[in-house]
């Protein structure tokens, strides 16, 4: 249980502040420059749930990849807790366990059982011995409501259980930031609502900073502290909405007037950009 308490004491609103300053990314496939992100700035406070919405292929994932250290940026800087992740002197950030990505279609290792997947991080970082890591993994999985299937392979469990296990696999590393790239895409509405509740539960326990990309506006408002609407490519922030719905939140929120007004507001902003993107008619770019 101790992992929870540590965090409650010293993590709330402190660690995991991301500062994106004037970031531009130009892709250069086959000599044709494509500007994916244009002079984008965004301040995310430590412990904030920041939801990024925008038309398909607008450059949201580019931003996430830059923070995670998968791709370089062309100009600008990104800081994590005041330390430079990437900038002019260092175009690509180092990958590290302080920023962990949960991918679109899930990236649990198919050749490891759920518990082995979760224990992987602490084992390779040599923070814990193998048996300690497995114990902790089992404990964290059961706290996330997964206990019967911990010795099963990802291919044997439902997508909901797999995705929850993947978030546990990220959290066991005690990251400052969780980077989620449409993790609940292509899930049915019921599973999705269970996922939301469990993510909120995790968040309330850990207060980890969450950078969450989605297309689902209701999801964005239900989960987020702020919703950042991006413009169509090249991406920059168009509108930032504060979601002042108190936590802990539950599904009652969805039928409140406040929630509906926010949805309408975001929809307006996104719709405009979606039309622009559609008219531009360009192929999606990751």
């Amino acid at each position: 249980m101790h992992w929870k308490e540590d965090k409650l004491v010293d993590k709330i609103g402190k660690k995991g502040a991301i500062s994106i300053r004037n970031v531009t990314k130009i892709y250069d496939p086959e000599g044709v420059n494509v500007m994916a992100v244009d002079d984008c700035s965004l301040e995310i406070a430590g412990g904030e749930v920041c939801m990024i919405v925008g038309p398909s292929g607008c450059g949201k994932t580019t931003l996430l990849n830059a923070i995670a250290g998968f791709h370089s940026i062309t100009t600008g800087e990104i800081y994590l807790d005041g330390e430079l992740l990437c900038g002019p002197s260092k175009p690509i950030a180092e990958q590290g366990a302080d920023r962990i990505v949960v991918f679109q279609h899930g990236a649990l290792f198919p050749w490891k059982t759920l518990i082995e997947n979760v224990a992987y991080g602490p084992i390779v970082q040599r923070n814990l011995t193998k048996s300690e890591a497995l114990d902790k993994a089992g404990q964290m999985l059961s706290e996330a409501g997964i206990s019967d299937t911990i010795h099963k392979y990802p291919g044997e469990v439902s997508s909901g259980v797999a995705r929850r296990a993947e978030i546990v696999r990220a959290l066991i590393n005690d990251p400052k930031v969780l980077l989620l790239d449409e993790p609940y895409r292509a899930m049915d509405a019921l599973t999705k609502s269970i996922m939301h509740e469990s993510l909120l539960e995790v968040y309330d326990k850990t207060r980890v900073t969450i950078f969450f990309i989605t297309h689902d506006l209701e999801e964005a408002i239900f989960l987020g502290d702020r919703v950042v609407v991006m413009t169509t490519r090249p991406a920059k922030t168009k509108v930032i909405l504060d979601v002042k719905i108190p936590r802990p939140r539950d599904y009652q929120v969805l039928s409140s007037e406040q929630f509906r007004l926010l949805v309408t507001e975001v929809k307006g902003a996104v719709h405009e950009e979606a039309i622009k993107a559609f008219e531009a008619g360009e192929r999606e770019l990751a």
Binding site: V101, Y120, V124, G155
Partner: protein, 283 residues
């Protein structure tokens, strides 16, 4: 533990029952029996009753005659020695190809310099059929045995390398990124992510490579005469010498023996594959 045991027993029983009760199994049995009956009928009874020899099958001895020939050789040590020699050559070549081919393929996949240097010559050598190597191989190697083993090795090697390379290159980049961001070292990335991620392709390569080694070893034995001694040059030589001796039924015994040997070898690979990739055994 007890639960796991119960599950195991349940699984075993249902697997056996499935095999016995499944329509697929019985269709297979009926098809094999039907094939033999038609063969026997066409090759023996049609000429017997009508005096007409059928076009192709009339030249083939009927199964009853093949069975008699089999009974005859079954107790001869030479027949089993042929099995032993061919199997030994197949596995020697096959295992050598795995030992060299898997690391070579992985190295091609993960190291760009290595790939830039070794891939072009590999691609030029690859299309050369293994049998085209036979004369050169006989010149290169001091003994016939070694030249057969070398040709067998080549048959499997190229297939294995290509499969390993393809498999390792198509590992989902998200697994690599996930592992790296969780702090995996280069060695860990290789041994815990790339290697298991490539296993399915390694076994595909092994299954195909095993088939090729059987083809190659047989041809090699026919051409080189195996060890030179009568009836001890492997199954390829067994067939060849039976043909020279004019006993067609024994030729067919040799052919069926190869079929069985090949089937057993690929079953072995499937079995090992199932064991080493439990996550693929989901259904």
């Amino acid at each position: 533990m007890r639960r796991a045991e119960v599950e195991l027993i349940m699984k075993k029983r249902s697997k056996f029952e499935k095999a016995i009760t499944s329509i697929t199994f019985w269709r297979g049995v009926v098809a094999l029996v039907g094939f033999v009956v038609v063969w026997e009928f066409c090759s023996k009874y049609v000429p017997m009753w009508t005096g007409v020899e059928l076009l192709w099958i009339g030249k083939v001895p009927p199964p009853s005659e093949v069975l008699d020939a089999w009974k005859e050789v079954f107790f001869l040590p030479g027949y089993w020695e042929s099995w032993y020699l061919s199997t030994g050559r197949v596995f020697a070549g096959f295992i050598a190809a795995q030992i060299l081919g898997i690391p070579f393929g992985l190295a091609l996949a993960v190291n760009r310099y290595f790939r830039d240097i070794f891939f072009p010559p590999f691609e030029i050598l690859r299309p050369i059929p293994p049998l085209a190597w036979v004369p050169a191989s006989i010149i290169f190697w001091p003994t016939t045995e070694m030249s057969i083993a070398f040709v067998t090795f080549l048959g499997a090697f190229f297939t294995i390398v290509i499969n390993v390379l393809g498999g390792a290159r198509t590992i989902d980049v998200r697994y690599l990124r996930a592992a790296q961001s969780m702090g995996a070292s280069q060695w860990n990335l290789f041994s815990r992510i790339i290697l298991p991620g490539t296993l399915p392709s390694i076994f595909t390569g092994a299954a195909v490579g095993m088939g090729i080694t059987w083809e190659v070893v047989l041809a090699g034995e026919m051409i080189s005469g195996g060890g030179g001694q009568q009836a001890s040059g492997g199954l390829g030589f067994f067939i060849w010498s039976s043909y020279m001796g004019g006993t067609v039924a024994t030729v067919i015994v040799g052919m069926i023996s190869i079929g069985i040997a090949g089937y057993l070898s690929s079953s072995l690979i499937r079995f090992i594959g199932d064991r080493s990739m439990p996550w693929r055994r989901l259904f």
